[in-house]
C-alpha cells in the first residue's frame, strides 16, 4: 500500500502544476498586472508611475510566462508564473496583493468553515440515513411514494432559497436564532444552528434518494432473503444487515469530501456572515487578488487529491477483498 500511496502522491505533482498553470492563464486572461495594481491602489488619481512602482514591489513587472530577455533557464524562472507558483509547492502561500499573510489568514478562517461543515455533514448523514431507512422500511407504501416525491422537490430547489427561506422563517418570523453572524468558542453555537439546519435540509433530497437506492439495492440481495428466511424481523434485517453492507459505498462517498470541508461554502458563508475560507475565496476573486485565488485553488486541489487517496485507502479498510498495489 505504501508504494501505491507514494505513486499517487507523485502523480499529484503534474496535476498540481497543471491546475496552477490553468489558474494562472485563466486569471491573467481577464486581469492584467495593471488591473491588479489599479484594484489595489484604487481608481482615483493613480498615476502610471504609481502603478509601475506597485508592480515592481509585488513582482508583477516581469513577463508573465516566458522571459525573452533572460538567459537559459531564466527564460522560464524569471517570470511572474514561476515566482508566484514555486513557493506554493512548499505550502508557502506568501502575502496577498493587499499585504496580508495568506497562510495566517487560512489558518484563522478554516475553523469557522469547519464549524459549519462538520456538523452539517454529520447531522446530514444521520438524517439522510434515517429518512432513507424509513422509506426503505415502508417501501411500497404511501410513505415511500410521497417520500420520494418530497425528495425530488427538495433537490430541485436552489440552495439560495433554503438560505433565504430559513432566515425568513426561523429568524425573522419566529425569532429563534440570529439571522446571521458568528462568534468564537461556545458563543458560536447559536450562529451555527441556522446554517447547519439549512445545510442539512438542502442536502436531504439528494442524500435520501441516493441512500434509499443503496438500501433498496441491498434489500434485493440473497443474504437479505436468507436473513428473512431465518425469521428475522424487518427492522433487524435493515439495521443489522442492509445498513452495514450499504455503508461501503456510503463511506467512500463521504471520505472524498472530508478534506474539502476545510474549504467552506461560498454562498452559505456569505449569507450567514461566517468568516470562513469560502468567503475568503470569493473576496479574493472580487478584489482581483491573484495571490489569494491561486492559493485557494491550489489548496482546494491538494485537498481533493488527498480526498481521493483517502477514498482508495478506505476501500481497503471496509472491504477486505480490495488490495492496493
Amino acid at each position: 500500500m505504501t508504494a501505491y500511496i507514494v505513486r499517487r502522491l507523485l502523480y499529484a505533482i503534474p496535476i498540481l502544476i497543471g491546475v496552477n498553470l490553468l489558474t494562472f492563464v485563466l486569471f491573467f486572461v481577464i486581469n492584467t498586472p495593471d488591473d491588479i495594481a489599479r484594484s489595489q491602489l484604487g481608481d482615483r488619481r493613480v498615476t502610471a508611475a504609481a502603478i509601475d512602482t506597485w508592480k515592481r514591489a509585488h513582482g508583477y513587472q516581469k513577463p508573465l510566462i516566458y522571459n525573452e530577455n533572460a538567459q537559459g533557464l531564466g527564460k522560464l524562472t524569471d517570470t511572474v508564473l514561476f515566482n508566484k507558483s514555486v513557493r506554493l509547492f512548499a505550502f508557502d502561500f506568501g502575502r496577498s496583493d493587499s499585504g496580508r499573510d495568506i497562510g495566517y489568514d487560512i489558518g484563522q478562517r478554516m475553523w469557522p468553515s469547519l464549524a459549519i461543515a462538520v456538523p452539517t455533514l454529520i447531522v446530514g448523514i444521520l438524517v439522510n440515513i434515517t429518512f432513507a431507512l424509513l422509506i426503505a422500511l415502508f417501501r411500497g407504501t404511501y410513505i415511500d411514494f410521497w417520500g420520494v416525491v418530497l425528495c425530488v422537490i427538495l433537490l430541485s430547489v436552489s440552495s439560495l432559497f433554503y438560505i433565504i427561506g430559513g432566515q425568513y422563517l426561523l429568524s425573522k418570523l419566529f425569532h429563534l436564532v440570529p439571522i446571521s453572524g458568528y462568534d468564537t468558542g461556545i458563543n458560536a453555537t447559536k450562529f451555527l444552528i441556522l446554517p447547519v439546519i439549512v445545510g442539512v435540509i438542502s442536502g436531504v433530497g439528494s442524500g435520501t434518494r441516493w441512500y434509499r437506492t443503496l438500501f433498496l439495492e441491498e434489500i434485493g440481495k440473497d443474504y437479505v432473503r436468507t436473513a428473512r428466511a431465518k425469521g428475522l424481523s424487518e427492522h433487524v434485517v435493515l439495521f443489522r444487515h442492509v445498513l452495514r453492507n450499504a455503508l461501503i459505498p456510503l463511506l467512500t462517498g463521504i471520505v472524498v469530501v472530508l478534506p474539502l470541508l476545510f474549504m467552506g461554502s461560498l454562498i452559505v458563508e456569505s449569507f450567514f456572515g461566517v468568516p470562513g475560507l469560502g468567503s475568503y475565496t470569493i473576496d479574493g476573486i472580487q478584489r482581483q487578488d491573484f495571490a489569494i485565488v491561486r492559493s485557494m485553488v491550489f489548496l482546494g486541489s491538494v485537498l481533493y487529491i488527498i480526498g481521493l487517496l483517502l477514498t482508495d485507502i478506505s476501500y481497503t479498510l471496509v472491504d477486505p477483498r480490495v488490495r492496493l498495489r
Binding site: 484604487g42 481608481d43 432566515q167
Partner: protein, 715 residues
Amino acid sequence: MHRLAVSVFCALISPASDALWNNPYPESQAKENVLYSSFSERPKHLDPVRSYSAGEYAFIAQIYEPPLQYHFLQRPYVLVPLTAVNMPRVTYIGADGEILAGDAPVTDIAFSEYEIRIQPGIRYQPHPALARNEHGEYIYHALSPAQIKQVHELGDFKHTGSRELTAMDYMYQIKRMANPRLHSPIAGVMAQYIVGFSELSERLETAQADLEDGAYLDLRRFRIAGVTIVDRYTYRIRIHGKYPQFLYWQAMPFFAPLPWEAERFYAQPGLRDKNITLDWYPIGTGPFMLTENNPNLRMVLARNPNFHGEKFPDVGEMGGHEDMLLADNGRPMPFLDRAVYSLEKESIPRWNKFLQGFYDNSGLTSDSFDQAIQFNPQGDATLTAQMGERGVRLSTAVATSIYYMGFNYLHPVLGGGSERARNLRHAISIAVDFEEFISIFRNGRGIAAHGPIPPGIFGHRQGQAGINPYVYDWVDGRARRKPLAVAKKLLREAGYANGIDNTTGKPLALHFEAIGSGPDEKARLNWMRKQFRKLGIQLIVRATDYNRFRDKMLKGKGEIFLWGWNADYPDPENFLFLLYGPNSKAKNNGENASNYARPEFDRLFAQMKNMDNGIERMRLIDEMVTIARRDAPWMWGFHPQDFSLHHAWVRNTKPNLMANNTLKYVRIDPELRAAKRGLWNQPVLWPLVLAGALLAISLIPAFVSFRRRERSTAL
C-alpha cells in the same frame, strides 16, 4: 399527569426567559452604550497614507485626526480646526522669496506656505509601540522571536503607553506619503504641489533599494524641503504656486499624524507574518481606537481614554442657533462607549437585522425600498406606516457626486466641437430621459443634473438660473425636459434625420460601453436602447467587465459610457477638472474620461482653480458651465440622493457627506433600544411544536401498517 403535560407544552411554546434567542450580541451588552452597525466589504487598508475609500474612512476617520475637519452642522460645508488651534495661516511668496499680499495675482505667487499650529496636550491612544519602561526605553521595539511567538493580535501585548502629539508627527506622515513603498494614492498629486516631495521620494527609493519589503527605514533621517518644524507644536508646509484646495486635503486622513515609534514597532520581523501591521492596527489621537480588528467578522471601536476632548458644536446649519440638533450643544464628545461593526455582505440579512433592532442604522437597497419608503402626492419621500410605527427616522441628502453619461470627444461621429456633432449630442441628451431613469432604477433617489457641479458645492445654481437650456425649458416654475420633437429636429440638422445617416443612407449605430451584464444591468441596458430608439438611433451595447471598460477608456476607444465622480472636497475645481483638456484620460491618463478639450474652457479653468470663492470665481464658473453645456461632452446624468434610516434611539445623525469622522457626534438611548428589541423579538415556538406533531401524526398510519405487515404470515 394531564397537568404536567400542559405545563410542559406551555413551557415549550413560551420563551424561557427574557433573553432574545435571535440576538446576535451577548445579552450582557443589551443596555450598554454601544452603537451597532455593519460594513459590507472588508477594508483593504487602514493605513492613512493608503486608505482612500468610504468603507475604510468609516473606521480610520474616527481614529486618526488631521489638523482640520468639516463642521458637522453648517452648510455649505465649512472647514474648522480639529487638532489645529486655528485655521492655518497662509503666506504667499514670490519667486525671489518676497512675502506677497493676500490678494496678490496668482501669477506672482511662486509658493504658498501654510503654517499650522496644533493644540498642546493631545495624546495618542494607549499602544504597545509607545510603551516604555522605567528607564524610558521602548519595551517592544526589539522583540525576541520567543516574544513574537506568543503574540497573535495587538491586544496580546501586556503594556501600552502614550505620548504627546507633536508637529513632528505630522511631518513624519507627509514623509510617509512620499515613500514609494507605501503606495499612497495621492503621492502623484502631492508631488505636484509640496516642495521637495518628489526629491524625497527619489531619495527614499534609493535608500530602500537594498532593504527587504517591510523593513524599517527611519524617515526622521530624511529631509523634505517643503515641510519645516517651527516649534514643538507648529509646522509649515510650502507648496508650489497657489492652491487653495490644499486646505481641504488637510481634513483628510492622508495628513493625519503618525508617531515614528509605530513604524519602528510594526516593522519588526515576525509581526508582519501575523498580520500585525500598521495597515491593520491604526494608532491615532482621535475619539476612538480600534480594539477588535477582525475585518472578516467584526470591527470594534472603543472610546480612546486619552482623547483630548471636543464639544458638540454650538452653531447650526445656517450658522445660527436654531437647529434642533443643538440639543447637545456644548456637551463633551464622544457620546458612545463603543461602536460594533459587523461584516454583513448580503443586503437581506442586513435589512432584517435592522428591522429587528440589531443594527441601529441602515442604508436602503432596491429590495427594501418599497417596504420603507413611499412618496406623498407632492413627490416627497416619506416613511411607510410600518416604519413610522417603529419610530424609524429617515435622513436624505443629495450626494456631492455625479453620475454622467459621457461621449468620447475623440470619436469621429460623436466627438469634436463641430456643429453637427454638437447637435447630435444635444439631441441624444434630450432623448435620454434621466428623470425616468431615476424613477425606475433608483426609486426616485436622485435629481437630474444640469451641469457638472452638484448642489451644495460653490458654483451650483438653483432654479431657472441653473437649468441647462439645451435640454430643458423653464415651465411653471420648474425645469421641463424639451419635447422629443426638438431632439428630432437637432438630429435632422446633424445629418441623421430619423436616425439615418444622410451621407451613407444607413441607420446610425452607436456603441454603449456597459459594465457587467447581469439581470439588473439587462433591464437598464434595455431602457437605454429604448431611449436611443426614440430617435431611430441603434444603440449597440458592448458589455464587458470593469477592467476591459477601464482599458477602453484609457485608450480612448469608448463611445458612450456611464461613469461617476464623488467629491474629494467641496470645491467646484474637483468637478470641473473632469472636463479639463490636459486631464484627458486617453492622452494623459487623467480623470477627463470623455477627453473633452476646449481651449476656452481650459483657459478659464486654469484661471478659476486657484481663486478664492467670490463673485469673480462664480462668474468664471458660470462661463465654464455655459461652454460645457453648449458642447455637451456629457449627458449630465444625475446627482444621487442618499437615504439612510435610523432607529428612534439614535440621535445626531445629520448627513454630512464630506466629513467622515461623524461617529463622535452620535448619541444613543440604550434603554429604549433594549425595550424595543424585547418587544420585536419574542421567540415564537408554537410552529415547531405544530410541525413535530404533524410529522408524528403522518407517521402513525405507516407505523400501523408496518406492524400489521410484520405480524402477518407469509401465506
